[in-house]
Amino acid sequence: MTPGIAPWLSARRYDPRVVQPMREGSMPARTGPRLTDLLLYLVGVAVLVGALTVAWRSMRAVMDIGGMCASGGPYHIAVRCPEGVDILLIVAIPVGLLAVGMIAWFGSRIGPGFASVAALAWPALFLSLGWNFLEYGLAATGGWDWAWLICGVLFVAMGGIPLLVAIRGMPRGDRRSSGPTWAARPAASSGGAGVTVSMGGIRPSPGLTYPSERASSDATPQHVGLASLLRQVQGMTVAEAAGTTVAEATRAGDPAEAGEADPPAGMVEQLERLARLKERGALGELEYLQAKQAVIDAAAKGGTA
């Protein structure tokens, strides 16, 4: 095991000192994957790519003999399939589907972004097989083979269009990245005393980026308000570990005390968000009541928590 990945793998899943990153409508992410999850995920990636490779080579073998072949059965066979190719094609498809399931399942367990690799199976399959159609269609004896060329164009479109749509749909920061990452950093940088874990921001370097830390050009009051709420939740989790009250932890993480500007989010909005967190189970009853009181107290003092 490399020195670089060992601390990440050894991180405890439910370490109370670690804030569970949360996102609206999603389950809290874990702080670190188990080694078995990562290994099975990597096996899934290897098996999927292996199945695609087998299918790609098998298809070329069949196209080498004209594109049609048969094997077995009681009939007279004009063109026999190359030995083993029929079996390989039959086996490669379900094995590839199984591998996609492994990638999605174990990828979701080891961190945000990893499961989405499974979605690449679709463009990888159609683009690679489309390449075969185009190559053989253009290199056919006696001129272009239009049937194969049409198939090639269709396959490339089926694989390429979803891929382009997915790339264009990614946030700009994601497109510049080298892939999803997870990172930990001291929460002291945002007013707490624990460790915060990245939500799998696809940027190569940062940890959890609060909305208020984004470029000012795209920061909205909603972002700032959400940042404030996240700081509160962070304070609660730290409070659990330290045995302090939520109010104390919240005050410790108050951006106003850290010299930052007060977020302009409304009290009602914050209370609604707290209620949603409670409904999702992210906050216990006592935590919810204490946080709610902290928001009300802060509003009574003329600011926001």
């Binding site: 990440w8 990636v45 790519v49 073998a61």
Partner: protein
């Protein structure tokens, strides 16, 4: 902290390595089964 960040990158390198191993393994399996 720095090690944990680099751990994420190492894991992605492992993903790429697994994909490369998949290509090699698939190529090898096809050759073994078909005798080519």
């Amino acid at each position: 902290v720095t090690e944990e960040r680099s751990g994420g990158r190492w894991a992605w390198l492992l993903v790429v390595a697994a994909a490369a191993a998949g290509v090699a393994g698939g190529w090898w399996l096809y050759g073994i089964v078909t005798g080519t």
